[in-house]
């Protein structure tokens, strides 16, 4: 039996204007968890897409179980025992877990009739064997993200995968779910599966993997043993420089001036359930207010309320003397409230528009982009886009490239560039570093703090507690639609915040709601 489940040698993959993989060697031992680490755009996902048959490489050899294979498609990859769990799940929301898993390989009774029960039994067996609890009868749309991910993994196993590729599996998970995932992966390894874990989180790479291969700009920087490396070493390999882990915050001594005031906001989520139950916030100039909380406690609705995308059922919002209650997104934009949305695919960018068309979204009716309703200025738009691309270091072949062809980090830079160049009074940043690598995260934090130093009021909503603690001047903890505490980051710690996020109060002092 060959030692390696996968061997890739000299893989080259070019896209118009970029070499995504430039002669990459990668090997996956049987029964190991192998981390594939790199910044956004380093070529991790492309390499694995080549392995999965989504792209044909321009050069290089692939051996699966010691046997060379060339130019195959995903269907073939699946037959060869490779399963891929994408960052964005490929599940049909309206169908049940069982229906999703058996899709394409439906078991039948006497060759014609669908045998759901057989599938459900098989799924339950897998679920038990690998410690991946899923309810085969539940509908996908009702499940939390963590369980949807387990469904994807079970689906891959159901199709006979021996090698699993997980593309940034933790990006969408809560800390608890990440822990469960770690356990499940260890169990899968025990059962003899080989796993590739694409990630840019150093801690996880070290904690979950046996070996780690670091990519940078389409090339392999090195493969190391997880036990013999450190976060600092890996970070250096990834970005090629010493990453500053702590953001240095300058002290601003200006008098606090409240810019945006939200009072007693109540609002419903998309299902009509009350998601915000009387939230009051005051955003001040020269300040980052961090919102800490476990996903699904009303953060998403709060961001939408404060940017005019969702009307509150009661409560008021005002910017200085300007009453914004019940106004639409345009009024909020015009008032100088910038928004870095949590979902850059759905909200932040029009993926099928060019970089240039995206650069003016929200400002497209303003000078200098359009002076009358009958004309928008190509020249001014192009100049402005070039400025953003240069100032915020957006890597793109040209301003006419479609947004969907940029890497995640560059998409985020484009959004930030667009929003910050409006010279906003208020910035609502929802999950601004989601899916970014170390360098990208650092960059976003610095930009946010720069805007704060220049006088903007910043609201930072993040599931990443470290991020909130690192960047915020004040931290508000949100729990089941209420702000349960306001803390000074200097005078609190992870444990205290964690307890507030998970229980809504501290065992030491049963707190009541406060006003931020």
């Amino acid at each position: 039996m060959p030692e390696f489940a996968i061997e890739m040698k000299g893989i080259v993959k070019r896209f118009p204007g970029v070499v995504a993989n430039n002669g990459i060697d990668f090997s996956l031992k049987k029964g190991e968890i192998h981390g594939l680490l790199g910044e956004n755009g380093a070529g991790k996902t492309v390499l694995m897409s080549v392995l999965y048959g989504l792209y044909y490489p321009d050069a290089g050899d692939i051996r699966i179980d010691g046997v060379p294979h060339k130019n195959y498609r995903p269907a073939m990859a699946i037959r060869l025992g490779i399963g891929m769990v994408h960052q964005h799940f490929m599940l049909v929301p309206r169908l049940t877990v069982a229906e999703n898993i058996m899709l394409g390989q439906e078991p039948t009774k006497s060759g014609v009739l669908l045998d759901q029960e057989a599938a459900i039994e098989k799924i339950e067996a897998f679920s038990k064997q690998y410690g991946l609890p899923v309810d085969p009868r539940a509908r996908i749309e009702q499940l939390p993200v963590g369980e949807q991910q387990r469904v994807e993994i079970v689906k891959a196993l159901y199709r006979g995968a021996d090698t699993l590729i997980l593309d940034e599996p933790t990006a969408v998970l809560t800390e608890q779910e990440i822990e469960h995932l770690g356990e499940a992966l260890a169990k899968l390894k025990q059962e003899g599966k080989s796993i590739v874990l694409i990630t840019h989180k150093l801690q996880e790479a070290i904690g979950m993997c046996d070996r780690i291969t670091v990519l940078r700009k389409g090339e392999v920087i090195g493969t190391v043993d997880a036990k013999e490396t450190s976060e600092r070493d890996l970070a250096e390999m990834m970005v090629g420089r010493d990453v500053v882990f702590t953001v240095r915050r300058s002290q601003v001594t200006a008098e606090p001036t409240t810019v945006l005031r939200a009072t007693e906001i109540r609002a419903c989520d998309d299902r009509g359930l009350e998601a915000l139950k009387g939230v009051s916030l005051e955003l001040q100039r020269h300040e980052v207010l961090g919102i800490a909380g476990v996903q699904g406690n009303g953060q998403a609705e709060l961001a939408e309320i404060l940017t005019g995308l969702r009307p509150p059922t009661s409560g008021t919002i005002s910017l200085g003397d300007l009453d914004l209650t019940g106004k639409g997104a345009k009024a909020f934009i015009d008032a100088g409230i910038a928004h870095i949305p949590a979902d850059r695919y759905l909200r932040g960018l029009v993926m099928t528009f060019s970089v240039r068309e995206n650069a003016i979204l929200g400002q497209h009716r303003k000078r200098p982009f359009s002076s009358t309703p009958f004309w928008y200025h190509q020249g001014a738009t192009t100049r402005f886009t070039r400025e953003i691309v240069d100032a915020f270091d957006v890597k793109t072949p040209s301003v006419n490239t479609l947004a969907q062809n940029l890497s995640g980090g560059n998409q985020q830079r484009l959004i930030i560039g667009r929003e910050f160049s409006k010279k906003p009074h208020v910035i609502i940043a929802a999950q601004p570093t989601r899916g970014l690598d170390v360098g990208g995260i650092e960059y976003v934090h610095q930009q946010l703090l720069k805007m704060r130093d220049q006088g903007a009021a910043v609201l930072l909503i993040s599931m990443d507690l470290d991020e909130v603690m690192r960047v915020s001047d004040r931290i508000a903890v949100i729990y089941t639609g209420r702000i349960v505490a306001i803390k000074d980051p200097e005078e609190t710690n992870r444990r205290e915040l964690g307890e507030l996020m998970l229980t809504g109060s501290l065992s030491s002092e049963r707190g009541v709601g406060e006003t931020a």
Binding site: A329, D343, L346, R347, G362, S370
Partner: protein
């Protein structure tokens, strides 16, 4: 549907043109198979198709005459499509535009040229109103525009049918046919290529192509409209009032279809005749798709469909095959256009076999 729109946008201009041409070739290829299977002479059919479409001055005039309304209905389809909507009702919007134009042309007394313009725009506005209704219902009540535009089409055809029927209020008492009285000479478009019916309506269509292009790609409003079509959520984020854009898009779609009807009345028939359209409104769906939702493309797609229509008559006349073969070819072209993945796969397969 959004995936179709996306697929249309993803590839580069050259690639798109290539794919379109390939789709047309494939359609003709399959058309040949059908002809062969049915026992018709393939060369005879294609020679007559060509003769009827481009064989001489008159044939070319006929082709252009038929292409004129199809350019406008194609624009009608694509402007809604660009906003993520399906306007299936161009036929009805065209009928409404046509009847209003016929009334204004016959009963209003104005100086020449001015009369044409007023009658033309009256028709356009009437069509716009017919498009506004489903737009309003879509925006305010979420009613599926696919259904409403199509159903309103039948309402329009039925309504105009009644208006010009004997005893109908607009029936021309001197005529046996179901039609209105003739449009006054002051309102008529001059003919360009006598003895064919080609008129200044084709210039109107050409101007419309440029205006729609300009609107979509050079005005903030067009930008917003495309934005809603590509990503309603991002449009909302950008402060765009998406519902207004839906209404605008369908109203403009109605306007363009209304102009198609008006052009037919002022340039071709000089009166509203019941059943004057052989389905130009439906052709617009094909025209818009073959043009890959690009305004300039409609010129070529309308010419293709117009040529098929004109050529079909000659095929019929020559007994080479039934004229319906043109409809079959047109349907095949659409089939291959809407199946871009199929065509892409064929290209890839060819590339691989070359390697």
């Amino acid at each position: 549907m959004r995936s179709v729109l996306q697929a249309l946008k993803q590839s580069s201009f050259l690639q798109e043109t290539g794919i379109t041409l390939l789709s047309i070739l494939l359609a003709f290829g399959v058309g040949c198979l059908i002809l062969w299977a049915a026992g018709y002479s393939i060369p005879a059919v294609f020679i007559n198709l060509w003769k009827g479409a481009f064989g001489n001055k008159i044939a070319i005039g006929n082709t252009l005459t038929k292409a004129t309304p199809i350019i406008l209905t194609s624009l009608s389809f694509l402007i809604a499509f660009r906003c993520g909507l399906f306007n299936i009702g161009a036929e009805g919007q065209m009928y409404i535009g046509a009847i209003i134009t016929a009334v204004v042309g016959a009963h209003l007394h104005l100086p020449a040229i001015l009369h044409s313009i007023v009658a033309l725009f009256a028709g356009g506005l009437a069509g716009a109103f017919w498009g506004w209704i489903p737009g309003y219902l879509k925006a305010k009540r979420g009613v599926n525009e696919f259904v409403t535009t199509m159903m309103l089409s039948y309402v329009a055809i039925g309504l105009t049918d009644y208006l010009v029927a004997p005893r109908g209020p607009l029936h021309d008492a001197q005529a046996y046919a179901n039609q209105t009285s003739a449009v006054l000479a002051t309102a008529r478009f001059a003919r360009i290529l006598k003895p064919t019916q080609l008129s200044w309506a084709i210039v109107v269509a050409g101007i419309a192509v440029l205006l729609v292009w300009y609107f979509l790609f050079r005005t903030p409003s067009g930008y917003e409209l495309r934005c809603v079509g590509q990503s309603p959520t991002a449009a909302e984020y950008g402060g765009i009032r998406t519902k207004r854009k839906l209404i605008l898009a369908l109203s403009l779609a109605g306007l363009l279809a209304g102009l198609a009807g008006a052009g037919e009345i002022l340039g071709t028939h000089f009166r509203f005749v019941d059943g004057f359209s052989p389905g130009y409104g439906w052709d617009g769906i094909a025209g818009g798709l073959i043009a890959r939702a690009h305004p300039v493309g409609t010129v070529f797609s309308a010419l293709l469909i117009g040529a098929l229509r004109a050529g079909a008559l000659q095929v019929q006349r020559s007994h080479a095959a039934p004229g319906d073969i043109a409809t079959v070819l047109q349907a095949l072209v659409i089939f291959f256009i809407i199946a871009p993945t199929l065509v892409r796969r064929l290209i890839r397969w060819r590339r691989r076999s070359v390697q």
